[in-house]
Symmetry: C2
Subunit: 364 residues, 2 copies
């Protein structure tokens, strides 16, 4: 297998080979325009059609009704951590609730606290961020502006189960690391957002799906660029958008629809990949330890280790010899991490499982 | 000539052919890593080296001392329009001064006015945005937080002359559409910023060059992501940066250094291009009119027209037949516009001049 196909990075990470091939061609010359994608104006008819297709494909994949606006932003989830309380924690709808369940949600909570008074509905730090709460059982103030959580903790490898029923307050989910990995019920949410690059396209674009009734709450007087209504009203073309990243995102939505067959099919593949890797790691129990407790194991990010930094480093070297990359743990946690995003194939996970078993047999 | 080389778009616009060729290769496989550039982690040694090289190359091209920090941001100039007053208009240093000289600076002034009390030092609307003021002769409050201006008005085709002496208050310049087109004296400025994609790389990255003493004024309590110190202190890697756009930007700085030979050489080429096109248009006086008054004609963007929308449309069609694109005027002004960014060659301008002369002879 090519090295690109054996990239287990937490992100930016692997993209589908067919998308890379089309992108390479588009750098030279787009079939539709005869120009490089890097030279296309964001005001061109071609780019307007790409924006529309990206939105349409996301609507079809996720089953979004017209109750939702779909918009493409810059600045990553980190900018949304500030913009969400600026836009939705108002005089009328105040004190949002935040679930702190790992590295990324802790950042979301801390940034919100700089913008507005908010309340921590749950914090898993005392348990080492190895468990997740049942969102339905949390003691939430029913007058809170919204409840914010991160659906998949990329660093710790924790993933919430799907959420089906609308909760008592508007639910806002950062799905950066499991967006488009499985179907969901959009009507349970008031806002879903996800930055690339995990399953979505090159770093530099963030998708936000926002219930239109939530947008009615945005207070006047925000800087225009930080007002989410600006981007919705201008069809994600208020200022120059990241044209290239949105183009590749569009190719990825085509790949999901045409080559994979939709999110249910994607979920089945992702479930087989995760099952294969967790079975391998469970079989190595004693030599290998997993960070997440079993009920909350993520299908996207598997944080684990051999319990000794020298062994972890030796495994990274052994994996490197087999063309595998991106297996270092996040700098905040150390150890190892395998990210199984949509573009990582079952064959790649098979290779990784073999490498782990071989290594544990001979070295660990 | 290839169509990519005849792209006169106001941006995103043309990139150098050798940069496109290296980018195409990098999508498949970076020579340094064996992985696609789109799969490279922002925490990889490779990307750290790219960030460092991008900064070093900009420092060398512009002659920046260590008094300046160099950082790479998302959100375009439009986000800086809000962040600059948030960061630098403080209780101690208040009421910044804004020069409104065209479409883009009007946006900067309006956004600043939403963030803080500010003063309009000059407004050229009554003159139809065809002239520019002498910045040195403006009546500026010497206690103002800063003076903000846009060095080149992309829409109207107006360009300020170079500014050599530090003014009475910190000078902040949006150089989005003429950055790296000519040498400058950085010590005249407290902050210079420029978004791609004009001369700089693909849309989605913004360069900010900030005097370190100005950063000492930033008030505490801003959202972390909107505090310019965050991005400086984290070496532009606080959150996932637009890896691909920064990579291409680095290739462009190499091209400027190695193939062009630096900014003085770039300026000489740009001056020849602008002279050739303006001579052509002046020779067609009567048939063609230019938007900008002569002393403020931009070397980067030439806004003009045949004085009749049908003739302008006919010229666009004639240009299209010769593989030229991007010559439509900005939607706010109509007419035609030729952008002569760094990657537009002298040969391309020659072709455009011929097309204009031929058209005027036979149709206008």
């Amino acid at each position: 297998m090519k090295a690109n196909a054996l990239n287990f990075s937490g992100g930016p990470g692997a993209l589908p080979e067919s998308v890379l091939e089309q992108t390479r061609q588009a750098i030279e010359e787009l079939p539709e325009t005869g120009l490089s994608v890097l030279g296309m104006s964001h005001r061109s008819d071609w780019f307007r059609a790409i924006l529309q297709e990206a939105e349409n494909n996301l609507r079809a994949l996720l089953g979004l009704s017209d109750d939702f606006a779909v918009t493409f932003l810059q600045g990553g989830s980190s900018l949304q951590f500030a913009m969400i309380p600026m836009n939705f924690a108002t005089a009328v709808h105040a004190r949002p609730e935040y679930v702190t369940s790992g590295y990324w949600s802790a950042k979301a909570t801390a940034e919100a606290a700089r913008v507005t008074a908010c309340r921590e509905a749950w914090n898993g730090r005392a348990g080492g961020f190895r468990q997740l709460p049942d969102l339905r059982a949390l003691d939430i103030d029913r007058t809170a502006a919204y409840l914010h959580y991160v659906s998949n903790e990329t660093v710790e490898g924790l993933q919430f189960p799907l959420f089906d029923e609308p909760p008592a307050v508007p639910l806002i989910a950062d799905m950066s690391s499991d967006f488009l990995s499985r179907p969901l019920n959009p009507d349970a949410y008031s806002m879903i957002y996800a930055h690339a690059q995990k399953n979505l396209g090159p770093a530099g674009v963030t998708v936000a799906i926002i219930k239109r009734e939530l947008l009615e709450r945005v207070p006047d007087g925000l800087p225009v660029i930080l007002d989410l209504r600006t981007h919705v009203e201008h069809g994600s073309n208020y200022n120059t958008p990241p044209v290239f990243a949105i183009y590749v995102l569009t190719l990825i939505t085509r790949w999901l629809r045409d080559e994979i067959g939709g999110l249910a099919a994607m979920q089945a593949i992702n479930a087989r990949k995760a099952t294969r890797l967790y079975q391998t790691l469970d079989a190595l129990e004693g030599a290998v330890s997993l960070h997440a407790d079993r009920p909350w194991r993520s299908q996207m990010n598997v944080a684990f280790g051999f319990g000794d930094p020298r062994l972890d480093a030796a495994f990274l070297a052994a994996a490197h010899e087999r063309d595998m990359s991106g297996l270092e743990g996040h700098r905040s946690l150390g150890g190892l991490r395998a990210s199984l995003y949509n573009a990582v194939s079952e064959q790649a996970v098979e290779r990784l499982s073999e490498a782990l078993t071989d290594f544990a047999r001979h070295r660990a």
